[in-house]
C-alpha cells in the first residue's frame, strides 16, 4: 500500500475578540475566534480550544462559517473570581485532512475580571426639610452582576464628612426591581438652612465574590421653619370639578392635591411663583406674595390634544 502523501500548509491565522473586555468577576464573556489558512482551506469542522496558563482546557468548539463569511466560532466562558487581567490561549489543534496538514497554532488573548460595581440610588427625600428636623429617605444598591446584597452595610456622611446615619440593606428587593436591595434611612437635618450635598457609601467586600465600594451624592435642602400656610385649590376650568393629584410647586416647596383638589403647603414668607399642573391640563402659573396664610384658587384649562387619529 502506497504511503499517503501529506503536504504541510503554513500556520493558520487566528484572531480573537473578547466581549466585554472588562467583565464582572464570575460573569460570562464571549470569545469569538476567527481562523484562516493562507492557502484558503475550508476550516469548517476544525476544533479550537480555549486554554488557561496551565494548559487546562476551559472550552472547545468546532469552527463554522460565521455571518461575515469567515471561519470561526463564538464560545462562552465564565470569568474567574480573581480580579485582574487573565491571559488565555485559543489553540487550533493540529489537523490532517485530504493529504493536507495544518500544524497546531495558538493565539493569546486577555480580559480583565473586575470587582462587581455597586450602583447606589437615593430617593424619597422630602423636597424641603426644616432645619434640625428628622427626615427619612431610601437608599437602594444594585450589584452590576445582580448579586444578592441583603445585609450589606451603608453609611451616610454629611457635607462635612461626618457620619450622620448608617443602615443595612433589607432582605427583599425594592418592589418592581430584580436586584435592587434597599434600606430606609433616617437622619437629622442640619440646624441651619441651606443646600447641602450628602454622601451614601457602601464599602468594598471581598467575601466569596469581590465587590467594589460604591457611593453617590444627594442633595439635602434645608429651609427655615415655615411662617405661613398656602392653601391651593385646583379646579377643572371646564367643569369646575376639583382636580385630584395636581402638582403644586412653590419652589422649593412641592405638594399634591387631595380628593378635594386641595393642597396645603407650609412656606416661609416671601414671593413665590405658584405653578399648578395636572395630567391633561395646561399648567397654571402666577406670582403670589405670602405674608400671611393664604388661599389660591387655580383653574386649570383642559389641554385639548390635537387628535392624531386617522379619522
Amino acid at each position: 500500500m502506497a504511503a499517503k502523501r501529506v503536504s504541510t500548509h503554513g500556520d493558520r491565522t487566528c484572531t480573537v475578540e473578547v466581549a466585554p473586555s472588562e467583565v464582572d468577576a464570575g460573569a460570562e464573556l464571549t470569545v469569538t475566534v476567527r481562523a484562516s489558512c493562507p492557502h484558503g482551506c475550508d476550516l469548517t469542522g476544525q476544533s479550537v480550544s480555549i486554554r488557561d496558563r496551565d494548559d487546562t482546557e476551559l472550552a472547545c468548539a468546532e469552527l463554522t462559517t460565521l455571518e461575515d463569511g469567515a471561519f470561526g466560532t463564538a464560545l462562552t466562558l465564565r470569568a474567574p473570581l480573581e480580579v485582574g487581567e487573565h491571559v488565555l490561549r485559543a489553540v487550533l489543534a493540529a489537523q490532517e485532512k485530504d493529504g493536507l496538514r495544518h500544524a497546531e497554532s495558538a493565539t493569546a488573548f486577555s480580559f480583565t475580571a473586575m470587582p462587581h460595581a455597586a450602583n447606589v440610588n437615593v430617593w424619597g427625600l422630602p423636597s424641603t426639610i426644616s432645619a434640625g428636623e428628622r427626615f427619612s429617605f431610601k437608599v437602594g444598591i444594585r450589584c452590576s452582576a445582580g448579586c444578592k446584597l441583603a445585609g450589606r452595610a451603608l453609611s451616610i456622611t454629611d457635607h462635612d464628612g461626618a457620619q450622620v446615619a448608617a443602615a443595612k440593606l433589607c432582605d427583599d428587593v425594592w418592589p418592581g426591581t430584580s436586584a435592587l436591595y434597599f434600606a430606609e434611612v433616617e437622619a437629622q437635618a442640619p440646624r441651619t438652612p441651606g443646600d447641602f450635598t450628602w454622601q451614601v457609601t457602601t464599602p468594598a467586600s471581598k467575601q466569596s465574590v469581590p465587590h467594589a465600594a460604591g457611593s453617590n451624592g444627594f442633595a439635602v435642602r434645608v429651609v427655615a421653619p415655615p411662617d405661613h400656610e398656602v392653601t391651593v385649590e385646583a379646579f377643572d376650568g371646564d367643569t369646575q370639578a376639583p382636580i385630584k393629584g395636581a402638582h403644586v410647586l412653590l419652589h422649593p416647596y412641592r405638594a399634591l392635591t387631595d380628593e378635594r383638589g386641595v393642597a396645603k403647603v407650609k412656606v416661609a414668607k416671601g414671593r413665590y411663583t405658584l405653578f399648578v399642573s395636572g395630567f391633561n391640563y395646561i399648567g397654571h402659573e402666577r406670582i403670589i406674595d405670602v405674608t400671611s396664610d393664604v388661599t389660591a384658587r387655580a383653574e386649570l384649562a383642559v389641554e385639548r390634544e390635537e387628535d392624531v387619529d386617522i379619522r
Partner: protein, 689 residues
C-alpha cells in the same frame, strides 16, 4: 384566444362563503356571475414586451388597493357596468379607513348637510337635534371650492393649508363631494349628525359627520347594525376583526346626536366592502402590484399590471391570515400573475411614507428608519410603500405637490405621546389579527405627561423642552377662531395672513426637528438621528396612572419598552429596539443633571417649566416614536382622476386618487372617498382597449 364575457350579477352571496380558489374562479366564472373573468389559466405568463404578455386574469377595471379610494372606485365602476378586480397587498380589505374614526368631511350642500340643516331624520336613525346652526350648514360646491383654495388661511403653526391646492383637482372634488355622500349612503353607510369639519375641509361651513352603525344583536350591513362581538369592546381592551379601530377620547355617539350607535371607520369600510362583494366586485388579496404595463414604455394605454403574491402569516403559527369576508375573493397563490385591464387601472395604493428613498424626496431627514408611517404596524410593511407612485413614474407619470406633506401636520413628522409601541396611530387592542403585528397598543401620556418624563435621543441626551413636544400639530378648519385662525374670519381676506395675525397665533414647536438632528450617534452616509426615548421613573407612573402592562406594552417584549433597576442598566437595555444602534451613552449624566436642575426648579438647558426628579426605581424607557401619518405628494392627476405624464398629457387608461396622488393638502376620508368616486366613474366609461 377565447374570451369569456363578463356578466353582472345581482346574486348577493353570503358573506361567510368559502373563498374561491383560482380553479373555482375559472370554472365558476361567468356562470357564478362574477365580475372579472379569466382569459388564460396557463402556467406562468411570459413577458415579452406588452404585446407578448399572456394574461392570467382580466377585468374592465383593475384597482390597486382595497382601502378607501379603492373601495369607492370599485363600487362606483361596478355600478356603471364595469367588471372590477381589486388587488390588495394585505390579507384583508379596508386599508387605513377600517382603522380610522370614520369622520367624513365632504360638503358642498351634501345630503347630510341638508338633512341636518332641516333638522330631519329621513332614514329613521333615531337622531337627536342637529348640532350645528342651520346657516352654518348651508353650502354649495362653489363655496366649497373657494374654501378649499383660500390662499389666506394660516394656522397656528404658520402653515397655509389651502393655498397650494391644485385648482382643477379641487373644483372637481367640490363638484363631486355631494354626489359622493349620496353614493356612500346608497351603499349602506350611515352618518351621525354633522359635528364640525375635518382637517383641510374648509373654514366657513360644518361638513364632517361620523360614519356609524347601531349596536344590535347581530351584524346586518343592510340594516346598519353591528353585533357586540363584531364591534369589540374597547372598554374591555378588545377590538375585533370587523372593527379594528382606535378610540377618540371624549367623543360619544350620544354627543353626536346618535344614541345607541357606535362610530368608526369600520362603518365605512365594511358597508362599502359588503356592497362591493354583493355587486360582484372581485378581490385578489395578499397580492402586491409591482409594475404597470403600458403598450410601450412611455406611450400608449396602460393595459394591465404585474403582481406578486405577498401573504401575511400569523407570526406564531405561520398560517396565512384571511380576510373577514371571503366571498368574491380569488385565492390565487402563484408567485406572479399578469392582469389585463380592458378599460383602466386605478392606482389606490396609498402614499409613499413607507419608502425611505421616496419620502426623502420631500424631506432628506426622513432617512431615519425608526420613523413609523400610517398604520403600517397594522396593515403591513407594504402599506404606503410608494409602489403605485413608483410604478407610475416608471411609465412616465409626473408627480405633484411633494411639498404638501408640509402643508399638513399629519404629513410631516411629529413626536408621539403614545409610548411603548411602534403603532402610534392605530392604537388597537387585541382581537384583530392586525394586533399580532402591532404587538402593543401603547400608552398615551398626553402633552401634559411629558412634564413627568424626559425625551432623549439615541445617545441619551435631551434635545428640547419636553412640555412643548406636541405643539406643532394644528389644523385650520371650521369653525374660525380655532387652531390659530382669525375668529373674525373673512374668506380670502389678507388679514387672515397678516404678519400680526400669524405672529400672534404662532405656537410651532421644533421638538421633532431637534429630534431629527444629527447627534453623536449619527453615522455616515445618512447621519440618521435614531430613535427617541421617553425616560421616567416609578413615581411618574404612579402619578400619571400610566398603564404599563399588556396590551399597552408588548408581552413578550418587543424592544419598544424597557424597565431596569438603575439608569445605567436602562441605558443598555434599549439595545433591544430594532433601530437602536448603541447604548444611551449619556443617559446617566442626563438624568443626574435633570435631577439636579429639578432640585432647583430651573431647567437651564431647555426651560421646561416644571421638573420632577427621576429617582424612584424601577426606571423606564419607552419608545416615543416619530411618526408620519399621511402622504400629500404623489402622482399628478387631473379633475377626472387621470394620471398625467411629465408633458402634462393624460396617460390613457391610468387613474389614481387619495394618497397615491398629489396636489392637495386635504386629509383623510373626504379626500379618498371623492377621489375613488371620480376615478371609478371615469374609468368605467373608458373604451375597451
Amino acid at each position: 384566444m377565447a374570451r369569456k364575457r363578463d356578466k353582472r350579477s345581482d346574486d348577493s352571496k353570503r358573506q361567510d362563503k368559502k373563498a374561491l380558489n383560482r380553479r373555482d374562479f375559472f370554472r365558476g366564472g361567468a356562470a357564478a356571475g362574477v365580475g372579472a373573468t379569466v382569459l388564460s389559466t396557463s402556467a406562468m405568463a411570459q413577458e415579452n414586451g406588452a404585446q407578448g404578455i399572456r394574461w392570467n386574469y382580466e377585468a374592465d377595471v383593475v384597482i390597486l388597493g382595497a382601502g378607501c379610494v379603492g373601495l369607492h372606485a370599485a363600487v362606483r365602476a361596478r355600478d356603471l357596468g364595469a367588471s372590477v378586480l381589486v388587488i390588495e397587498q394585505n390579507f384583508d380589505v379596508g386599508g387605513k379607513v377600517v382603522h380610522s374614526g370614520g369622520w367624513t368631511s365632504l360638503g358642498g350642500g351634501d345630503p347630510i348637510q341638508e338633512r341636518d340643516r332641516m333638522g330631519t331624520d329621513p332614514q329613521g336613525l333615531g337622531l337627536k337635534a342637529s348640532l350645528i346652526k342651520p346657516e352654518e350648514l348651508e353650502d354649495d360646491p362653489d363655496r366649497l371650492f373657494r374654501d378649499m383654495t383660500d390662499w389666506s388661511v394660516v394656522d397656528a403653526t404658520g402653515v397655509a393649508r389651502y393655498r397650494y391646492n391644485d385648482r382643477d383637482l379641487h373644483r372637481a372634488w367640490a363638484d363631486n363631494a355631494p354626489k359622493t355622500r349620496q353614493f356612500m349612503m346608497d351603499n349602506y353607510v350611515r352618518f351621525a349628525r354633522i359635528d364640525g369639519t375635518h382637517q383641510g375641509g374648509g373654514m366657513t361651513r360644518a361638513r364632517a359627520a361620523r360614519a356609524m352603525m347601531k349596536l344590535a344583536d347581530k351584524t346586518d350591513i343592510k340594516a346598519g347594525t353591528v353585533s357586540p362581538q363584531d364591534r369589540g369592546d374597547p372598554q374591555g381592551e378588545r377590538h375585533s376583526h370587523f372593527a379594528p379601530m382606535r378610540q377618540v377620547p371624549g367623543v360619544s355617539a350620544e354627543s353626536l346626536g346618535a344614541p345607541g350607535w357606535v362610530w368608526g371607520g369600520f362603518s365605512i369600510a365594511r358597508p362599502m366592502e359588503f356592497s362591493a362583494r354583493e355587486k360582484g366586485v372581485r378581490f385578489m388579496l395578499n397580492r402586491h402590484m409591482d409594475d404597470l404595463i403600458r403598450v410601450r414604455p412611455f406611450s400608449g394605454r396602460v393595459i394591465g399590471v404585474k403582481a406578486r403574491y405577498t401573504p401575511r402569516t400569523h407570526p406564531e403559527t405561520g398560517e396565512r391570515l384571511e380576510s373577514f369576508w371571503q366571498n368574491g375573493n380569488i385565492d390565487e397563490r402563484a408567485e406572479t400573475v399578469y392582469i389585463r385591464a380592458r378599460k383602466a387601472v386605478i392606482i389606490a395604493t396609498g402614499g409613499m411614507q413607507g419608502s425611505i428613498p421616496m419620502r426623502m424626496m420631500t424631506d432628506p431627514r426622513m432617512c431615519e428608519p425608526s420613523i413609523e408611517y400610517g398604520p403600517s404596524a397594522l396593515i403591513g410593511p407594504l402599506n404606503m410603500d410608494g409602489s403605485g407612485i413608483c410604478a407610475g413614474m416608471k411609465i412616465g407619470a409626473c408627480l405633484a405637490g411633494m411639498m404638501m406633506n408640509y402643508q399638513h401636520s399629519s404629513g410631516s413628522p411629529t413626536l408621539s405621546s403614545v409610548l411603548g409601541t411602534r403603532d402610534t396611530v392605530g392604537s388597537t387592542f387585541p382581537g384583530t389579527p392586525a394586533f399580532l403585528f402591532a404587538r402593543a397598543k401603547g400608552f398615551n401620556i398626553g402633552n401634559a405627561g411629558w412634564e413627568h418624563a424626559v425625551a432623549v435621543n439615541q445617545v441619551g441626551q435631551r434635545f428640547y423642552n419636553e412640555r412643548s413636544i406636541n405643539n406643532n400639530s394644528s389644523d385650520a378648519k371650521y369653525p374660525p377662531g380655532t387652531d390659530g385662525t382669525r375668529k373674525e374670519f373673512v374668506p380670502l381676506d389678507w388679514r387672515n395672513a397678516s404678519p400680526q395675525q400669524v405672529n400672534a397665533q404662532n405656537r410651532r414647536s421644533a421638538a421633532v426637528d431637534a429630534a431629527l438632528a444629527i447627534n453623536e450617534g449619527s453615522r455616515a452616509p445618512d447621519f440618521a438621528s435614531g430613535p427617541v426615548w421617553a425616560i421616567f421613573d416609578a413615581a411618574a407612573v404612579a402619578r400619571g396612572g400610566w398603564r404599563i402592562r399588556y396590551p399597552y406594552i408588548a408581552d413578550p417584549p418587543d424592544g419598544y419598552f424597557h424597565k431596569a433597576d438603575t439608569i445605567a442598566e436602562l441605558a443598555k437595555k434599549v439595545m433591544g429596539h430594532p433601530h437602536q444602534k448603541m447604548p444611551l451613552k449619556y443617559l446617566e449624566k442626563t438624568v443626574a443633571r435633570y435631577n439636579e436642575m429639578a432640585g432647583r426648579s430651573k431647567d437651564e438647558d431647555f426651560e421646561k417649566p416644571v421638573l420632577h426628579r427621576i429617582e424612584t426605581p424601577p426606571f423606564y424607557a419607552a419608545a416615543a416614536t416619530i411618526r408620519v401619518l399621511d402622504s400629500y405628494g404623489g402622482l399628478r392627476i387631473n379633475g377626472k382622476g387621470q394620471v398625467l405624464d411629465t408633458q402634462g398629457q393624460v396617460i390613457p387608461g391610468l387613474y389614481s386618487g387619495g394618497e397615491a396622488s398629489g396636489g392637495g393638502a386635504q386629509h383623510g376620508i373626504g379626500r379618498a372617498t371623492v377621489h375613488g368616486y371620480i376615478a371609478g366613474t371615469n374609468a368605467a366609461q373608458e373604451p375597451v382597449a
